[in-house]
Structures are given as C-alpha cells and as structure tokens.
C-alpha cells in the first residue's frame, strides 16, 4: 500500500488545515499570508497530478476515512471525472490566488486581508471535498462550508453593494441548503444509508417510492439554486459581479460547475436515472429550464452595461449549456457537459480576472469605458479576446469542442430543439462578447481615458490571466487528451 492511497484525503484536508493555521501567521506576519496560502493549494495540485494514472481505468479510487469501511465510514470516491474536476479546481484556485495578492491589497482593507485568504482556502478545500466525497451527508457539509465561505467572500470588501449582494445570496442559498438537508433526511429515512453507492443499490432494490421522488425534486431545487439554474439564478448576477474579481472567477468558474456536477452525480449514480418516469419528468423540466437559461442569460448579457454583470449573465447562460448536456442522457451530451465545465471554468475565470485588471488599473467597470483599451493594456485585451472566443465556441478553442459534443449529444438524444437552442446561445454569446472585443480593439477611446503607452497590469496579475486563456486554447487543440476518457466515463455512468 503506497502513500499515494492517502493523496485524495490530503488533497482535501491540506487546504482546510491551511485555513486553520493561516490566522496565526496573519497575527505574526501579515505580509506573508498571500504567499503562505499558496503552499496548501500548490500541495493539493501536486498531489492531484501525482494521482493521474493511479486510477484504474473505468474504475475508481476509494479511500475510507479513518479506516472505517463504507457504508459505515465516510468514503472518498475518485473516478477519472472526479479527479479531472479536482485538478481543474486546484488549477483555477491556485491561479486566482496568485492573482489575488495585488488585487486584494487594493480592494480589501487591511484587517480583512487575512480573513480573505482563510476563507479562500476554506472554499478551495470545500470544493475539492465536495467533488470527491462519496457520502451524501459529507457532500452537504462540504457544500455548506463552500456556501458559507462564498457568502463571506462576496461581502469581503464591506461596501454596501457587496453586503447586499451577499445577503441576497444567503437568502436564496440558505433555504436551498436546508432543502438538500431535508432531501438527505428523506433518503436516509427510506434507505438507512448515506453512502452514495450503497444508496444506489438500495434504491434499485426498493424501487421508487413517493418519498424518493420528493427528495429528488428537493435535491434538484436545492442544487439548482446553488448552480444558478435559470429561474433560481437571481442571486448570481449581483453576487458574481460585485465580489472581488478573483472571487468572481471562482464563483463563476468553479462553484456553479461543481454544484452542477454534484447534481449530475446524484442523478446518475444515486437515482439510477431511467428508473422512474418522474425522475425523467424532473429531468425534462430541468431541460426546459436550462434551455430558457441559455436564451435568457444570453439576452440579459447583451443588455448589460457593466462588464462584470455581462460576464455573470453569460454564466447563467452557460449553466444552461451544462444542464442541456446532462439532460440529453447520452454519452456525448454528458461528455460535452463535463468538458464545458472545464472550458467554461477556464474561460470565465479568465474573463473575470481580465475585468479585474481593468478595475485594478483604471477603475473601469462599464463596457463603454473599454473603448480603445488595447492601446494601454494589450496583454489583458488579448487574453480577454481569446477567452471570449472560447465562450462563443469558436474553433479551435475548447469551447468549440464542448459545444460540438453538447450539440451532438442532443442530436443523438433526438432533442433537435435543444440543439437549436444551443446554437442560438452561441450566437447570443457572439453578440455580447464581440461587442466588448470590438470596443477594445477597434474603437478609439475617450480623450485621456487611456495612457498612450503600454502600461498593463503587473505580471502577477497577467500571468494567471494568460495561463487561463492559453489553457482554453490548449484544451481545444489537445482535447484528445481528455475526451476519450470522458466518453468512457460517461458511458460507464449511463
């Protein structure tokens, strides 16, 4: 038994432990906190990379916490898809953390800075745990840590809009958490177990009862709020646009995806999906909501004047993409959804960080202010353009690959209307993204709005932006590294 068997749990606990220790360091040397907080996340990322290739093909890695065998103990269950998502989480959180130092120095007042990093690590660790855990109550706990730290992070600047947005987020988030908790209670009351695999077995044995259906609907609504699925998305635009940019990047780039992923896992591996008409009916309803989300988000994004608000509405639209891929119930659709989690995560994080660069350097938030930005901030503008192309889904970026599979999946599932909706969504995306690019590159700015010479954001803020935008290109060109194993995993899940 090699040490690597313990890596999954270390990946989760190291950031959480870091979060516990960080306040002490903050008390002694506040200046070191931003650097020190990189350590746990870097460790997690490293462990994750070391785990690649350790997972048996088509199978999973199971870790029993405290040595207790499931279904009694808490199990960490890592298949390829899970590990893939954990690596994405590690990558994006690390990059956004690198970005944070300069940005936070400017945006967040002194006393709160350590708190920022503590919450940041909590959030990252919780996301990792959320993806990996095989125990449904544990899922809830991680979700709550995640939610709590994100509420606080949205409000961290303490200005009135931020607090209001965070409160709005709580007002929707907390009831949804309670719904999830209630649903888990229902599940437990019927099956007497909390382990997901065990649950699936018992549900298959017992067949569907009303309680299970109610609990499924509660789960869909609960996670739907967290994942900002269309009619439940109201908290998202405010929270995502007002939070500090690195946090917006995490919220938009990871949090909603991770919550969508949880719902997928519950649907596919707990409620083995085709088992009941009602589950399918719920899925159909989700499909309709997702299609509405694609269109609504896209149209709202076009109407926005504020750059971060636009990106946030674009997220609403793209969550619709992900759910449309899931409700296709084909291997291709699922692959597309998974891949979209990756490339949307990368691209959205990049866009938010770019928007952060404009705010950091010039204080510009409105799209109109970006006219002629290219003259002063070429690097940021190019990265923004590249990530936008991925959001639209222009080849050869990763967005194209995921769009391909999403549409193919819907076509194979016979859902032609949804395929058309996805295409319409990408046209809408083209409209709102290209407008910004057009302003940046082909419009002259107002007199004195920009400096004449190149004066871009500091390297520590450009590096993450560029890594992310190049990653969208990389995963577009080298999609063959991931797609086959995702297809296999998707086929296995179905």
């Amino acid at each position: 038994m090699g040490a690597w068997r313990h890596f999954p749990i270390f990946m989760i606990t190291v950031p959480l432990l870091g979060a516990v220790l960080l306040p002490f360091l903050g008390y002694v040397r506040e200046k070191w906190v931003p650097y020190a907080s990189l350590l746990p996340l870097g460790t997690s990322a490293l462990l994750g990379v070391l785990l690649i290739g350790r997972i048996p093909s088509g199978g999973y890695l199971s870790y029993h916490m405290g040595g207790w065998e499931p279904p009694f103990g808490i199990e960490i269950r890592l298949d390829y898809v899970g590990l893939f998502l954990m690596l994405v989480v590690c990558g994006i959180t690390t990059l956004a953390l690198v970005y944070s130092r300069r940005y936070i120095e400017k945006e967040v007042s002194g006393g709160r800075r350590t708190a920022y990093y503590v919450l940041y690590l909590l959030m990252s660790g919780a996301m990792l745990g959320f993806v990996a855990t095989g125990d449904i109550f544990n899922l809830f706990v991680f979700m709550e840590i995640l939610a709590l730290s994100s509420y606080a992070l949205v409000a961290i600047t303490g200005n009135r809009n931020a607090v209001r947005a965070a409160f709005k987020y709580i007002l929707m988030g907390a009831p949804s958490s309670i719904m999830v908790l209630l649903a888990i209670g229902f599940l437990y009351s019927v099956t007497g177990t909390l382990n997901m695999v065990d649950l699936a077995g018992r549900i298959a044995e017992s067949g569907f009862t009303e309680v299970l259906i109610v609990s499924y609907i509660l789960l869909v609504v609960g996670f739907g709020v967290k994942a900002a699925l269309f009619p439940l998305h109201m908290w998202l635009p405010d929270a995502h646009s007002i939070a500090p940019s690195p946090i917006s990047a995490l919220l938009s780039g990871l949090l909603v995806e991770v919550c969508a992923f949880a719902l997928v896992r519950i649907t596919l591996s707990v409620f083995t999906m085709r088992a009941s008409d009602l589950v399918m009916g719920t899925a159909d309803a989700v499909g309709v909501a997702a299609a509405a989300a694609v269109l609504y988000g896209g149209i709202m994004a076009i109407l926005q004047k504020d750059l971060k608000m636009m990106i946030a509405y674009s997220t609403v639209s793209h969550i619709g993409y992900i759910f449309l891929g899931l409700t296709a119930f084909t291997a291709e659709g699922l692959t597309g959804a998974m891949y979209h989690m990756l490339d949307h995560g990368l691209a959205k994080a990049c866009l938010f960080l770019c928007a952060g660069n404009f705010i950091y350097l010039k204080g510009y938030r409105r799209i109109e202010d970006l006219k002629g930005a290219w003259g002063q901030m070429p690097w940021t503008c190019f990265a923004f353009a590249l990530a936008s192309l991925s959001v639209i889904g222009i080849p050869p970026t990763a967005g194209f690959i995921s769009k391909w599979y999403l549409i193919l999946g819907n076509v194979e599932g016979g859902k032609w209307l949804y395929a058309a909706v996805l295409l319409a969504g990408s046209i809408l995306a083209a409209v709102y993204c290209l407008r910004v690019i057009y302003y940046m590159f082909f419009q002259a700015g107002k007199e004195g709005a920009w400096e004449e010479y190149w004066h871009d954001a500091p390297p520590a803020m450009l590096l993450p932006v560029w890594v992310l935008s190049l990653a969208t290109l990389f995963f577009g060109v080298f999609s063959f590294l991931i797609i086959p194993s995702l297809l296999k995993a998707a086929a296995y899940l179905l």
Binding site: K106, E107, F137, V141, E144, A147, L148, Y151, A152, A155, T157, G158, N159, R160, N161, A162, V163, R164, A166, F167, K168, I170, L171, A174, P175, S177, I178, L181, L182, G185, Y188, S189, L194, I242, K305, D306, I359, G363, Y364, R365, R366, D369
Partner: protein, 127 residues
C-alpha cells in the same frame, strides 16, 4: 391513520412550510432569518424523529444494554453537524444584517433591494 402514526413527520413538514413561508413572505430581513431558523429546526426535528425509538436508551455500550433498544445515533450525529452549520449561517447573516442596517438604514427587504445601484464605476474606485 398512517398520518396519525407519523405525526412527528407531519409536524416537521408543517414547520418546514411555515419557515419557508416566513422566508418568502416577510419583508423584514430579521424575520426572514427567523424563518430560516424555523426551517432548519424543522429539518433537525425530522432527523431526530427518524432515529427516535419509543422508550429507547442512549446508544452507549455500557455492559448489558440491549442494542435493539438503543435510539439510532447516526441522525443525532448528523444533526450536531447540522446545528453547527445552521448557527454559522445565522451568525454570518446577522452580522450582515447589522452592516446592511448601518449602511442603508432599513431592514425592509424591498427597500433594500430597490435602493438604486450606485453609478457604475463608483464601487471600483473606492478601493
């Protein structure tokens, strides 16, 4: 008959709906938080009643206790976690209520949300 037998479940659901109603309908944000807590309590109640056994004993293995008579400890353990989470959420939300009241001077959610967005660009320049 079945409902009567499961009266504790019915009570939990009733509380849950009551709480949800409060969260949605009340305009005062503190009342909303109270509603939230009622929801939480109802779920805790539901969990505890799951594991409850008429005339059960605490699940501590002191010699001779009959395991069949012990109440199910798992829901209780779960709910301990749940309570911690609920308290944290409430605390965080209340601290935000204080901040909101200081900055907006109102607890009415409609007035809070209706308050004009400040001119775009302002909040960015505050830093």
């Amino acid at each position: 008959m079945r409902l009567l037998h499961n009266y504790h479940y019915a009570a939990a659901m009733l509380l849950f709906c009551l709480g949800l109603h409060t969260v949605i309908v009340r305009r005062n944000i503190i009342k909303k938080l109270i509603g939230l807590n009622i929801m939480e309590t109802s779920v805790f109640f539901f969990y505890i009643s799951l594991g409850y056994l008429e005339g059960g004993i605490a699940p501590i293995r002191t010699g001779g206790a009959d395991p069949a008579r012990m109440v199910n400890p798992i829901p209780q353990a779960l709910i301990l976690t749940g309570i911690v989470v609920a308290v944290s959420v409430t605390a965080l939300a209340l601290s935000m209520v204080i901040l909101l009241y200081r900055q907006y001077g109102t607890l009415d959610v409609d007035r809070l949300m209706r308050e004009e967005e400040p001119e775009a660009g302002e909040s960015g320049k505050e830093g």
